[in-house]
């Protein structure tokens, strides 16, 4: 102990301690945190080249020749393959016309072309990758847990039953009843349009699978009460009551009220 006691007032000790403390924090953090290194290009060199060609033809007029972004489109550097796959395979990109938000439509690129474009964008900078079939396997996920997560994180825009809803200025959260597990996953990791990013740190893959399982359960759920009226609650119920039911009542009243001739 004499060694320490003798030197602890040395002016360099403070510096040394600081370095040691910072080092300890850094080592502990990297050991504890499970941040995955963002995946760079997984595609082959040919895919990247094909993708670049397709990009220059179909996308560069808005997103810039080097995907650096321009007046009409954001930078795509670092958005990752997942974002490209989500936007292009659902037909949202290329944009048909400027508007409040890109709408899903019939995709114009086939599966291989989408893969090539994804590979090209992923080669520019690391970003969220296209999920593997393991990531998407929700067969063991807890549907009810997914329901809780869905109501906490998703229902305020996508509506509790996933029917979608309006956002400001003509934007909207789309109906999820046609969404595939891959689209759901990619939307969560890439945050398209107004949607926030649910990275694997904030919403681990297991939770993503649970949310997916819940949405799939909603898609497949029968309607035990009969005609579902769109599952959006009182607005369509009121409309149905006033238009269909009341018409029947008034028709009956008129029928009964008619004088016998």
């Amino acid at each position: 102990m004499k060694f320490i006691t003798a030197r602890r007032r040395n002016p360099f000790v403070a510096v040394l301690l600081l370095v040691a403390a910072l080092g300890a924090v850094g080592v502990t953090f990297s050991a504890v945190s499970n941040i995955e290194p963002a995946q760079a290009s997984l595609g082959t060199q040919t895919q990247v080249e094909d993708g670049k060609k397709l990009y220059l033809e179909g996308c560069s007029s808005c997103h810039g020749l080097d995907a650096q972004g321009a007046m009409n489109g954001p930078s795509l550097i670092g958005v990752g393959a997942a974002a490209v796959h989500f936007q292009v395979s659902t037909g949202r990109m290329p944009l048909a016309a400027p508007g409040a938000q890109a709408t899903a439509k019939e995709p114009i690129y086939d599966v291989e072309e989408v893969a090539a474009m994804s590979a090209y964008i992923a080669s520019l900078a690391p970003g969220p990758a296209i999920p593997t079939s393991e990531d998407l396997d929700y067969s063991d996920a807890d549907i009810a847990e997914g329901g809780v997560l869905f109501r906490i994180n998703c229902a305020q825009c996508h509506q509790a039953a996933g029917q979608g809803g309006a956002l400001t200025q003509g934007k909207y959260a789309p109906n999820l009843m046609q969404a595939t597990p891959q689209e759901i996953y990619e939307a969560m990791v890439s945050g398209p349009q107004s949607m926030p990013v649910f990275s694997n740190e904030t919403l681990p893959i297991k939770d993503k699978q649970a949310v997916t399982a819940y949405i799939m359960a909603l898609q497949e759920a029968p309607s035990p009460g009969g005609l579902s009226l769109g599952r959006i609650g009182p607005v369509t119920e009121g409309l149905f009551m006033w238009v269909a039911v009341f018409a029947a009542f008034i028709g009956a009243a008129v029928w009964i009220g008619i004088k016998a001739r």
């Binding site: 039953a161 909207y172 309607s223 959006i232 609650g233 607005v235 009964i256």
Partner: protein, 580 residues
């Protein structure tokens, strides 16, 4: 009583009546009342829809009380609905799920209960329209109108308390809004919210409290008021539309037994049947999709049931105004749409019969209904109020409408805000003009008969359109119009220079009365009507010989033209001679 019959049914009936009468003395009452006459019109059955759907609400509600558990104790759901298995929820929500999925027939009854509740309020609204637009609320029925307004308010309360009971995400969000509304009341808001919720939101008290109100207090008062409502109809007798033989002092229609017993009974089963049908076939309030209520969750597209939609819409359309006065925040953005506007509308609704009677100086008794066109200002006010309500109502669904029709939510909201101010006055003016136009048409019909659309060429070459006299029914309906004079203008000081103490009030009344009455198209006098109808009959008479020729004609006859037949006069002079 001396008549005897051998018919077995009558014998049994007579014996039964005698048996009951000897114990209750009921024959005298029944004899006097079973033949009571009610007038006939389909719109008189709208109130019956409300009554019958209320009966369905009571019956199905009683069934639901057997299984519903009004408790906010947290439990873990372990029922058969997999997407909620293992989720924490209140016993109220769990038991509502059990009613839907475990209890045999539970979902059917729950849906019938909910549908019939929606129909109950809708039927009251439509019934109220009928009463308002036909002036049925006028003297002597003002009190019954008040009872009706009270019933409407109670129905909203009954509906909202029921909507809140399942404790799902939708209803909990509704309660959160109610709490916000309570808190917006100046001075007492915070404490009022604590009082209602028994502490912080959501607490553990609100569901049991709402349950007590929903199944005991509110339906009890509704039942009592319905009884009063119907007794008043019984003693004051039902109003009737003007028609042949119908006066202010009689009732023309059919007796209660057997005609109305059969009609009303049949209608009850129709209403019950339709409710059962949609209860079984159409989903209402799928609570399992919304999940249990927790204050940290909310779903987009959260709406109240239709009858609260207008209040939600008012809240949604109101600009976000707040002010801080002496350290206290006044939330105009909540206070105005959810306290002030409904307060004004319900007060106006309740006071309308008295306001109109005061403004027009109408102190007469009215047992004959007024056709809406004959009260243009009232009809205009009613339509303007419906338009105002309708815009608020659309506002309540603004997010669903924006999503469904790809509209910008913001543009829609601004459109509705502006419409809310502009459209009701336009609706008033347009309605009033339409009414006045119809009045002019009526006056013309009384003075000249109705246009037959047939053009006749007279023997001397003149073309006339044949006018026909009104049939006796139409004549009775149209000529029942009653005109009221505008109340005279007041004078500030009389001839002796004495100041009129009630000058301002009288002048206001004069102006109001003028507003209500000045544009009315005057009804022709009886003599003018008689002359007009006689003239129309003459014009129709000119056409009569033509019909004879048509009958003679072998060829198919088209419209118009003069037909020639053997024996038909060939010159104008011959024709004129023949007619005279």
């Amino acid at each position: 009583m001396s008549t005897t019959t051998d018919h077995p049914v009558e014998q049994i009936g007579g014996a039964t009546a005698k048996y009951v009468d000897q114990r209750l003395g009921s024959n005298k009452f029944l004899g006097a009342n079973l033949g009571k006459v009610f007038p006939d019109h389909w719109s008189f059955m709208l109130g019956e829809i409300a009554l019958y759907s209320f009966i369905v609400v009571l019956l199905t509600g009683t069934f639901l009380t057997l299984f519903y558990n009004p408790s906010m104790v947290e439990v873990v759901y372990n029922g058969s609905y997999v997407p909620l298995k293992g989720v924490q929820m209140s016993e109220a929500y769990a038991s509502s799920l059990d009613i839907s999925f475990e209890v045999r027939g539970g979902l059917l009854i729950r849906q019938m209960h909910h549908w019939s509740a929606l129909i109950f309020v809708a039927a009251m609204a439509v019934h109220m329209f009928r009463v308002f637009f036909t002036g049925a609320f006028r003297k002597p029925r003002e009190f019954n109108w008040l009872v009706g307004v009270g019933l409407t308010a109670l129905a909203l309360g009954a509906g909202f308390t029921g909507y809140s009971l399942p404790d799902d995400l939708l209803s909990g969000t509704g309660l959160q809004i109610i709490r916000g509304i309570l808190q917006s009341i100046p001075l007492i808001g915070t404490w009022a919210a604590f009082l209602v919720f028994g502490g912080e939101f959501p607490g553990t008290e609100i569901i049991p409290r709402l349950y007590a109100a929903h199944i005991l207090l509110i339906p009890g008062i509704i039942l009592a008021l319905i009884t009063v409502h119907l007794m008043m109809v019984w003693t004051q007798k039902h109003t009737q539309f003007p028609g042949p033989g119908r006066t202010n002092t009689n009732v023309v229609g059919y007796p209660l037994l057997p005609v109305y017993m059969a009609k009303a009974g049949g209608f009850f089963f129709i209403v019950f049947g339709i409710i059962a049908l949609i209860g079984g076939l159409v989903t209402v309030n799928p609570i399992w999709l919304f999940g249990p209520y927790t204050p940290d969750q909310v779903s987009s597209g959260t709406q109240p049931d239709w009858y609260i939609g207008w209040l939600d819409g008012a809240l949604r359309l109101m600009p976000n105004w707040e002010s801080v006065i002496a350290g206290f925040t006044i939330s105009w953005n909540v206070l105005i749409p959810s306290v002030v506007i409904p307060g004004i509308l319900f007060t106006g609704l309740a006071l309308y019969p008295f306001l109109e009677a005061w403004a027009t100086g109408d102190k007469r008794e009215h047992n004959l209904l007024e056709r809406p066109r004959n009260a243009p200002v009232r009809t205009g006010i009613g339509v303007a109020a419906i338009v105002f309500y309708g815009i608020l109502w659309i506002g309540g669904g603004n997010d669903v409408i924006a999503a469904a029709f790809n509209l910008s939510f913001n543009v829609l909201s601004w459109t509705l805000r502006i419409s809310l101010i502009i459209l009701p006055p336009i609706a008033f003016l347009v309605t009033k003009r339409i009414c006045l136009g119809l009045q002019r048409k009526d006056r013309e019909k009384l003075l000249h008969g109705y246009e037959s659309g047939r053009v006749l060429r007279l023997p001397h070459g003149e073309f006339i359109e044949v006018h026909q006299p009104l049939n006796y029914k139409e004549l009775a309906v149209i000529s029942a119009k009653e005109d009221l004079p505008v109340l005279p203008a007041s004078v500030k000081t009389d001839a002796d220079g004495v100041r009129n103490p009630s000058y301002r009030v009288d002048q206001l009344r004069h102006k109001l009365s003028s507003f209500f009455l000045r544009d009315n198209i005057e009804r022709p006098t009886d003599a003018e009507i008689e002359a007009g109808q006689a003239h129309a009959a003459h014009s129709a008479g000119l056409e009569a010989p033509l019909h004879e020729y048509e009958e003679l004609d072998q060829d198919p006859v088209g419209h118009g033209g003069v037909l020639h037949h053997p024996g038909m006069p060939m010159t104008n002079q011959e024709q004129v001679d023949q007619r005279q």
